[in-house]
């Protein structure tokens, strides 16, 4: 069972509207390496982890990813909030506006809608954890690409923070993966 806390995991207050960046950031919401895929990946894989270490870690990291979805969504919301129609057209977000106005919708940076084919569950803890490790590395790389594409400190701060969470999660998944391998747990 999940319970909501009415605060962000890390504060976000973006003072300058930037539709170009909103259009790019959305990939960490609904793209193949994004936070929605991460949350669904771990929260689906957790049931068949072979022991309580795996069930606990995947539950708790999967839950944290839900908070990251909220952070990325908040960034997109704040970046688009006061945009004029003219600005929306200029940034190439008019297709988004046609379908969603200023509402959130999980797509990648090209507007391709989210799909569950972005993640897998195999029932094999080693295979699943290796996917999780790769997913964290890919998400880290995408955060770095996004950081390279902006000079707004209000955007860079949360992106650096989210990137660092990928680093920590990768290390925890790798630790568990190596424990299972060393202990011969399948």
């Amino acid at each position: 069972m999940f319970a909501y806390k009415k605060r962000l995991m890390y504060p976000i207050n973006i003072k300058k509207a930037d539709l170009r960046m909103a259009k790019l950031l959305v990939t960490q919401y609904g793209g193949s390496n994004g936070e929605l895929a991460a949350a669904l990946r771990y929260l689906n894989q957790r049931y068949t982890m072979p022991d309580n270490r795996g069930k606990a870690l995947l539950t708790d990291i999967g839950t944290e990813e839900l908070s990251h979805i909220e952070m990325i969504s908040t960034m997109i919301y704040q970046l688009m909030k006061d945009a004029s129609i003219e600005d929306i057209k200029k940034a190439g977000l008019d297709p988004h506006y046609a379908e969603h106005n200023r509402a959130l919708y999980p797509t990648d940076a090209n507007g391709v809608p989210f799909t569950v084919t972005y993640f897998a569950t195999t029932g094999d803890p080693i295979a699943d954890l290796q996917e999780d490790m790769a997913a964290e590395q890919k998400a880290r790389a995408v955060y770095e690409n996004l950081i390279d594409l902006t000079d707004d400190p209000d955007v860079i701060g949360p992106l650096l923070w989210l990137r660092q969470r990928e680093v920590v999660h990768f290390d925890r998944f790798k630790e568990l993966h190596d424990m299972y391998l060393n202990e011969g747990i399948k």
């Binding site: 319970a3 909501y4 806390k5 009415k6 605060r7 962000l8 995991m9 890390y10 504060p11 976000i12 207050n13 973006i14 003072k15 309580n52 270490r53 606990a56 870690l57 708790d60 990291i61 944290e64 909220e70 969504s73 908040t74 919301y77 704040q78 770095e144 950081i147 400190p153 209000d154 860079i156 701060g157 650096l160 923070w161 989210l162 990137r163 660092q164 969470r165 680093v167 920590v168 999660h169 290390d171 925890r172 630790e175 568990l176 424990m179």
Partner: protein, 146 residues
């Protein structure tokens, strides 16, 4: 909350006097303090990986509400980091003791915030207020909440 990149590691002692004894920096648990760990997004010194020359944003509260929120955010984050660590190291007594200290501090920090600025969960005592206080405070995705 303001974000800038002039890192100030004095904040731990400013916001949390007496945090020193909570950090047993032995070979197993080499930890940042809660403020530094929070702004970096990583409580574990040995796991921290900087990107290029970027430094974490220094978070500066502009009001008492933001100060109480930052205090809660950082303590909650420290407890969460130890939670993930304990998930796969359930027999680490030092981490367990430290987790429980942060957990209690988180409960106190959340209560201190809620008494003045309203409920953060639907289990809060702040919901005894009239009218229904859950919708009486700003939602966290609005700029003014941060």
């Amino acid at each position: 909350m303001n974000q800038n990149f002039a890192f100030n590691d004095m904040m731990d002692s400013v916001l949390l006097p007496g945090i020193g004894p909570l950090m047993p920096n032995d070979e197993n648990l080499n930890l940042f303090g809660p403020y530094e760990g929070f702004i970096k997004g990583n409580l574990f010194k040995d796991l921290y990986q900087q990107y290029k020359n970027y430094q974490p944003a220094k978070l500066t509260p502009n009001s008492e509400r933001e100060e109480l929120l930052l205090n809660l955010d950082q303590i909650s984050f420290a407890a969460h980091e130890l939670n993930l660590y304990l998930d796969i190291h359930p027999e680490d007594r030092k981490a367990l003791a430290l987790f429980n200290q942060y957990r209690k501090m988180e409960n106190d920090a959340m209560n201190a915030y809620e008494v003045k600025y309203g409920p953060l969960t639907t289990k809060s005592d702040a919901l005894e207020a009239y009218p229904w206080a859950w919708e009486g405070t700003v939602w966290p995705w609005e700029k003014e909440a941060n």
